[in-house]
């Protein structure tokens, strides 16, 4: 089936990077559509190069296509050159698998990983020929769905999305498929669109924004009220209890053209309990669920053999924390044996010599650069954010890196953190200078790159009550840092545009009223806002003013304990009083240990869903929790321990 291909083909020799639109990846499917099957169009609201590697969409693509009652295809945001040609000729958005019109699918499912892609979502729905507002759609239109980390506050998109999925998607897509399949079988007539949405709202983990009415008192948001008695007041996230049950993707897509993360990716665990207070991913994906080592080994071996990649990344939020990481890495390197050289990448390196030790074991040949994320410049600041890395930990890591032949070190920091003083900001420069000094003992021209991002408070973190720094304050801190490092030989400072940080902040904690702003910005041509060359702050400030909304109120204001937050009707399992206590602890500069290896402090993520951390080895990581040197050997370890030699991957 090549529905729109004959119309698309003549346009492709006139656009940049036409291979974005042809599909044909290794592992791509040509599913057979039929009226009995629910057709999903899985979408990433950014370019192909950024969207294709998204592992969440690839997992769902396979799980859905394995079902007899579903088909799944993929689409990505066309770059503006192709978009113009499509609009000129009235050609709709299409799937890259069979080049079928997007409007012919039953569910259009977006992955939302970044706030600045929201206008692209509207643009893609519009390009599909579907009304952008949920209220304007009829039974003939696809259901517009979204999942991914940004959906923990979907309110800015509430008027545009029909359904929102919270948490892991592996199981819930089946339940959604069944509801939509029955609705389709009824000729889409059963209770019209409201009927199917009401049924979907009863699926655990599914939030249907239209089933809730916002209540305001003046400018204040008082909460959302369910429209019907059978609609849950609180929507809980979905959590897959055991990753071993989901060895996906089994056939990772191998694109013909270059994309980001262009390598084999094997997820070794989901969730993180380090408890970094700025990190939304670490909070909302709890508990820790490790994949059994045997399954990781077979997914790596099988994946390399099938794809022809010579690089594999072991992905997670903190891979060096995988229990038994050293043995796993040794096994993978040994298994490659005499075959072609394989590079094993760890996406997030722990800031200590142990982490570098593993990197040394992995990286053969050129040792160009290593990246660490101390996140803040002083111990005080790191206690506030609960990133409990001592200066000694960083210096031992940097010493290990330079002494093992690396010549460049990159350090990630956040600025605009709660309680941050100029001393904390300048502490970043101090750390960088000391790192260069350490490097001088080993190499003539050591290079330390400091990358600084402006902090955006996120829902379901202890910092969700914090008033974000203004653009001017962030820029002042960046200038301070730039001036302090100007004469430091070997130190380079890079930073993200604080203006983009401001807009992320508006959407990160915005309510439904922000929807009008997103629509206005999109109608004024503001797509691909996450691309520097396309981002325009005035589009956003003018749209805020047009709708009578105040950026200060949304971003820079500290929230109080009693304020109703726009996401209070959603649950990531975390108790709100736990998060509030953690916020108070942050302000008191009190750290919180990693609960994988210390007694449970009941954040709610495990107890609320009757699930537990699953780790592959009873041995706590070397160096203890977060390098704090805790004595872990003598303490009780409150986790489920897998039996040694548990061959889940083979069953």
């Amino acid at each position: 089936m090549n529905g729109l291909w004959p119309q698309i083909e003549p346009l492709l020799s006139r656009v940049s990077k036409p291979a974005r639109y042809i599909g044909m990846e290794g592992g791509a499917q040509q599913p057979q559509h039929s009226p009995e099957k629910v057709a999903w169009l899985l979408a990433y609201p950014d370019t192909y190069e950024i969207g294709l590697p998204n592992q969440g969409l690839q997992i769902l693509y396979e799980i859905l296509n394995e079902r007899p009652d579903a088909v799944a295809e993929r689409t990505y945001a066309p770059w503006h050159d192709l978009e113009e040609l499509l609009r000129e000729r009235g050609i709709p958005l299409f799937s890259v698998d069979t080049h079928r019109s997007a409007a012919e699918f039953d569910i259009f499912g977006f992955n939302l990983s970044a706030e600045l892609t929201y206008t692209n979502l509207l643009n893609m729905v519009d390009l599909a020929g579907v009304p952008v507002r949920s209220a304007d759609r009829g039974p003939q239109h696809p259901l517009i769905a979204a999942g991914g980390h940004c959906t923990y506050n979907p309110e800015p998109l509430a008027d545009f999305l029909d359904i929102v999925v919270l948490g892991d998607g592996e199981e819930v897509v089946a339940e959604i498929t069944e509801v939509v399949r029955d609705w389709k079988a009824s000729g889409r007539l059963l209770g019209d669109r409201v009927g199917v949405l009401r049924s979907l709202a009863r699926v655990e983990g599914v939030y249907v924004p239209a089933m809730y009415r916002p209540v305001y008192a003046g400018a204040d948001f008082l909460g959302l009220e369910p429209e019907f008695s059978d609609i849950p007041e609180l929507v809980e996230k979905r959590t897959v209890a055991d990753l071993a049950d989901f060895p996906y993707p089994k056939q990772q897509l191998v694109p013909l053209t270059e994309v980001v993360h262009d390598r084999l990716n094997v997820e070794v665990f989901r969730g993180c309990t380090r408890g970094c207070r700025f990190c939304q991913a670490g909070m909302i994906t709890r508990p820790v669920r490790e994949r059994p080592a045997a399954q990781v080994r077979s997914m790596v071996a099988e994946g390399l053999r099938r794809t022809g990649y010579d690089e594999v990344s072991l992905t997670s939020l903190s891979t060096a924390d995988y229990s038994g990481i050293e043995a796993l890495v040794t096994d993978i390197v040994d298994a490659a044996g005499d075959g072609p050289a394989i590079t094993v990448a760890l996406p997030s390196l722990r800031v200590d010599a142990f982490g570098v030790g593993i990197a040394t074991q992995l990286q053969h040949g050129r040792r160009a650069g290593l990246t660490f994320a101390p996140e803040a410049g002083t111990w005080r600041m790191r206690q506030v954010i609960n990133k409990l890395i001592r200066e000694e930990d960083l210096y031992s890591a940097v010493e290990a890196a330079f002494s093992n032949g690396w010549r460049r070190v990159k350090l990630y920091f956040l600025t605009g953190l709660p309680t941050e003083t100029d001393e904390d900001t300048l502490g970043i420069a101090e750390l960088a200078r000391n790192c260069v000094e350490i490097g001088r003992a080993h190499t003539r021209n050591p290079s330390v790159t400091v990358s600084v991002g402006g902090f955006v408070p996120k829902p379901f973190t202890p910092f969700q009550w914090f008033g974000q720094n203004t653009v001017e304050e962030l820029q002042r801190k960046i200038n301070l840092l730039r001036d302090a490092t100007r004469r430091m030989h070997g130190v380079q400072v890079k930073w993200h545009d604080p203006k983009a940080t401001q807009v992320e902040g508006i959407m990160s904690r915005g309510d439904r009223r922000i929807g009008d702003v997103i629509e206005t910005v999109w109608r004024n041509g503001g797509t691909f806002q996450e691309w520097n060359e396309r981002f325009e702050l005035p589009l956003w400030t003018e749209a805020m003013a047009e709708h009578g909304l105040d950026p200060d109120w949304y971003t820079h204001r500290h929230r109080t304990e009693t304020e109703v937050l726009p996401w209070d009707h959603l649950s990531a399992g975390l108790h709100k009083d736990f998060l509030w206590q953690d916020w108070r602890d942050a302000l008191a500069e009190v750290g919180l240990p990693d609960c994988r290896w210390t007694p449970c402090y009941d954040c709610g993520a495990c107890t609320g869903y009757s699930i537990e951390h699953i780790v592959a080895s009873a041995t706590p990581p070397a160096g203890g929790s977060q390098g704090t040197g805790q004595d872990l050997a003598s303490t009780w370890v409150p986790v489920t321990i897998r039996a040694v030699g548990d061959e889940v991957g083979a069953r």
Binding site: S13, A19, G26, V254, L256, E258, R306, G308, G365
Partner: protein, 243 residues
């Protein structure tokens, strides 16, 4: 052992770049287990040598690739079965058609190839409309163009590089092309003429539709042959006439 492959690049895969295709080959060597020689040094790469790069979105019936196989492992490679075996590891639309063992001292494809033949679709024009325009180009003694070299405009004459040009008889045109089709032989040495440059010398300039490379040719001592068959007799062009 050095081998030379001839392959096609047709259909959707034509929208991949030269660099994309090179990466597809590298993965195909690994998934197929072909014992290819690897360069020394910090970032080892398979020893493969392409001929003239094909522009993104152009198709080809005549692409070539030289590969160095590891010795002695190469002795176990079934050369006759290689095209079918390796094609299965490449994207749909890239198909190996022929393979031959060549001498390591043979000149590289880049050095040896002197011209390429092309089918160029001209959308919106009928056969008869195109004939007079082609006649003007063919009968011109010089075709001055200005091109950029190292950031500076340089005048050049395109005419010597146009070795052959005609409008294909509609019955001889590829079935999947619409509109009139040019058949051109364009030199690659001493300097290369691209199909887009040819289209630009027409007055008014012609629109470029689909473009398909038909052959890469080596002309030596008055004899013309394709790169895969050293010593073969000169190729005979069924349509050679106009120039």
């Amino acid at each position: 052992m050095r081998i030379r492959l001839r392959y096609r690049k047709l259909g959707k895969v034509r929208f991949t770049s030269h660099r994309d295709v090179a990466r597809c080959w590298e993965r195909a060597f690994r998934t197929s287990g072909l014992p290819i020689a690897i360069t020394e040094g910090f970032s080892p790469r398979p020893k493969m040598h392409f001929g003239l790069a094909l522009s993104t979105s152009h198709e080809s019936l005549g692409e070539y690739l030289d590969l160095d196989l590891l010795d002695p492992e190469s002795a176990a490679v079934d050369i006759d079965a290689l095209p079918a075996m390796l094609s299965g590891h490449l994207p749909v639309g890239i198909d190996i058609e022929a393979v031959a063992i060549i001498d390591r001292s043979a000149p590289s494809l880049q050095e040896a190839v002197t011209s390429c033949t092309w089918h160029i679709e001209v959308p919106g024009l009928a056969h008869a409309d195109l004939l007079p325009a082609v006649e003007r180009v063919v009968s011109a003694s010089t075709l001055p163009i200005v091109r950029e070299r190292k950031g500076k405009p340089v005048s050049d004459d395109l005419r010597p590089g146009i070795l052959h040009l005609e409008v294909l008889d509609p019955t001889a045109a590829p079935a999947d092309f619409a509109g009139a089709v040019l058949y051109a032989e364009l030199a690659t040495a001493p300097r290369s003429v691209r199909p887009s440059e040819l289209m630009a010398v027409f007055d008014p300039p012609l629109l470029e539709g689909r473009v398909r490379r038909i052959h890469q040719l080596i002309t030596e001592n008055g004899a013309t042959r394709e790169p895969l068959s050293p010593g073969a007799p000169p190729m005979v062009f069924a349509t050679a006439s106009a120039i």
